[in-house]
């Protein structure tokens, strides 16, 4: 008797003392246990810092030609005093481009554009896609058929080809590139949202809401939407990587950001014929792109494992 009385409170106590961990704190703990996700986060954190502090870190004006200002030649290779470059020569960490501009400064400012393009176009696609998918899944019937039919048609185009066609119509430029990439990414999010909504719609708590007369709009946006967010976040992170790649490809083809804007893809496109004589003009912006895309891919994969999202289609 006395034994059970003494042990009972002790075995009950921990249950009252530990708060149950929520989805997000569990997810974060899992995320921080994955080496690749941590590498991804470090890369992205560094990139965001570079983007914010670009004006401080830059050594030169990214769009200003140094002709007549410094004794340098166009497409001159990197010159770092610390690595043995003669100190009477002006220092340029990554060398100079075809218009005698400092490549290092241009790449720093390019980080702003790439992050902007990735986040804005994916944000646009998620908002529109989630909205269309939610309506499609919740309403069903011909609304569903119409919206999903349209999404299927868009998915029938390879994304870059459709983006090229859209930008051709809208005209070249950074803003139109953003829009085109946003539009071609919509179907992915619409599909994810629709299948989430279809799954959640069957849950008892949604049925309960409906039976007490909660309006459809409030059920959809108050109850269903928050529960469908995790797959969107995972896909969105991976989608940013794809968006950055596609935007860079469009700029490389001359359809995206226009010179003298320091955009990595367009920098590479401008100097692509000089790769044999001035490889630094391809290597540095190229590695900046690879690093950025890798960061989002690693974080996205880590998030998928941490949030345990299985690909649903």
């Amino acid at each position: 008797m006395s034994v059970t009385a003494a042990t009972a409170p002790a075995s009950v106590e921990p249950i009252f003392n530990t708060k149950p961990r929520g989805l997000w704190s569990t997810a974060f703990r899992r995320l921080f246990r994955r080496r690749s996700a941590i590498i991804g986060m470090i890369i992205l954190a560094a990139l965001i810092l570079v983007a914010i502090f670009a004006p401080v870190l830059a050594t030169h004006d990214p769009t200003k030609s140094l002709i007549g200002i410094e004794n340098v030649q166009k497409r001159q290779g990197p010159c770092i005093h610390w690595l043995g470059c003669p100190s009477d020569q002006p220092q340029h960490y990554f060398g100079l481009d075809g218009n005698v501009r400092d490549l290092y400064s241009r790449i720093l400012f390019g980080a702003r554009l790439s992050l902007l393009v990735g986040i804005v176009s994916v944000g646009f696609a998620i908002v529109i896609g989630a909205f269309l998918g939610a309506i499609s899944g919740y309403m069903g019937g011909w609304t569903d058929n119409l919206i999903m039919g349209l999404m299927d048609i868009m998915l029938a185009f390879p994304s870059l080809i459709l983006a090229i066609a859209i930008v051709t119509v809208l005209g070249p430029g950074l803003l139109n590139t953003l829009l085109a990439i946003g539009i071609v990414s919509i179907p992915v999010y619409a599909r994810i949202m629709r299948s989430s909504v279809l799954a959640i719609k069957q849950q008892d708590y949604v049925m309960a809401d409906r039976s007490i007369g909660v309006p459809s709009g409030r059920i959809l946006f108050g109850n269903i939407l928050p529960n469908a967010l995790t797959p969107l976040i995972v896909q969105g992170t991976l989608g940013i990587a794809v968006a950055i790649l596609d935007a860079a490809a469009l700029s490389f083809l001359g359809l995206g950001a226009q010179p003298p804007t320091p955009e990595w893809g367009s920098m590479i496109g401008q100097e692509r014929n000089q790769v044999f004589t001035a490889p630094h003009l391809i290597i540095f912006p190229g590695f900046a792109l690879i690093l950025t895309v890798l960061g989002f891919n690693l974080l996205g994969d880590g998030l998928r494992d941490a949030l345990d999202v299985r690909q649903r289609s």
Binding site: P158, I161, L162, A165, V169, L245, F252, R272, I282
Partner: protein, 358 residues
């Protein structure tokens, strides 16, 4: 089986119509006068009137769409403003180059991707696995055009006087002769569709060299294709390697695998005969989906390596605002993509009875 196939084919029809509708709309949305957009700023009013009549642009949009459908069905994709010739002719000329490049890339990506994936899964968490997965992660993160330029620099400049030096552009070395297959086979008098098909095939230099036993042509064309294929196959190869690995690891945990081991089968039989068959199913889908990326990648790869295929033509059309070519090629690329994915769906059903019966 036949019911399943016919259902899939019927389901593809609205998508194909939708693609036609989108390419039609895109062309209507081009700002400004379609006549001057197609024929150039200097077109006179009379020329434009004739142009409007010829393409039915003086009719209401619904009828215009009907005309457009009719033209596409009969193989008329409009004209190139820049070259003043039918888009269909240009397509027939350039398609072989792209088909050869894309199929070789897909082949390389699938073979090496599956091998890497199996190795990584078999020795899970070993250095080989870690290395393969790092490669796969990097592979999907490298832009096609960056990889292409760096590869061209590496193999044409850095490794210039070594045996592994490779040509960074073009399809053949100057002086290597190409003979139409029909001529090489002594069938000069042949005409009609078979001749057309042989001439189409002749444009694929690697296949041409192989079929006509012209080893010089075969070797030279293959050497020129190494870099483009390497570049174009990197992304699908990475995706296929990752997919194979995770799929194989998943299958290995299933009960029937334990049964197979319990029966005393050796590990090689367990992996290759029992696990692989089921593990490769999802890989088939990935291979089909990779084609979209390959077609997009072809625009960049062909531009970098100076191959006059569909992609390079698309790039030139973009630069010169040759809307007719952009519209026609977009249509054909999308159609190809849909048809290939249809074939993948069907092959999936052939391989997995659960799909056609479920």
């Amino acid at each position: 089986m036949i019911r399943y196939i016919s259902r899939r084919v019927v389901l593809a029809i609205p998508v194909l119509l939708g693609i036609l509708f989108i390419t039609f709309i895109l062309n209507r949305l081009i700002p400004g006068d379609p006549c001057r957009a197609m024929l150039g700023e200097k077109a006179t009013d009379e020329v434009c009137d004739a142009f409007f009549k010829r393409y039915g642009l003086d009719q209401p949009p619904v009828i215009q769409f009907g005309y457009y459908l009719g033209r596409v069905v009969t193989g008329d994709l409009g004209d190139s403003m820049r070259f003043g010739r039918p888009v269909t002719d240009m397509l027939m000329e350039r398609l072989p180059v792209t088909i050869e490049l894309a199929l070789l890339s897909l082949l390389v990506a699938t073979v090496i991707g599956v091998i890497l994936g199996v190795i990584a899964a078999y020795w899970q968490n070993s250095p080989v696995d870690v290395f393969t997965m790092i490669f796969a992660n990097l592979g999907v993160s490298v832009p096609v055009f960056v990889l292409g330029l760096l590869a061209a620099y590496l193999f044409a400049v850095v490794l210039k006087d070594t045996p592994v030096a490779l040509p960074p552009s073009g399809r053949l070395t100057a002086g290597v002769r190409v003979e139409p297959i029909a001529v090489a086979w002594g069938l000069e008098s042949l005409s009609g569709p078979l001749r057309g098909f042989l001439d189409f095939l002749s444009q694929m230099y690697v296949i041409n060299g192989l079929l006509t036993f012209n080893w010089k042509l075969f070797g030279d064309a293959a050497r020129h294709l190494v870099l483009p294929v390497l570049v174009l196959s990197t992304i699908p190869m990475s995706v296929i390697a990752r997919m194979t690995r995770s799929s194989l690891l998943e299958v290995m945990t299933l009960d029937y695998m334990r049964t197979a081991r319990a029966k005393g089968l050796n590990e090689r039989n367990v992996v290759f005969r029992h696990a692989m068959r089921n593990a490769l199913l999802p890989v088939v889908t990935v291979v089909g989906l990779s084609l979209g990326g390959l077609l997009s990648g072809a625009v960049l790869t062909e531009t970098i390596f100076g191959l006059t295929g569909v992609g390079r033509t698309m790039f030139d059309a973009i630069s010169s605002r040759d809307y007719g070519v952009i519209q026609g090629f977009t249509l054909v690329i999308a159609f190809t993509y849909v048809v290939v994915n249809l074939l993948v769906d069907i092959s999936y059903a052939v391989l997995d009875p659960r799909i056609r019966l479920g």
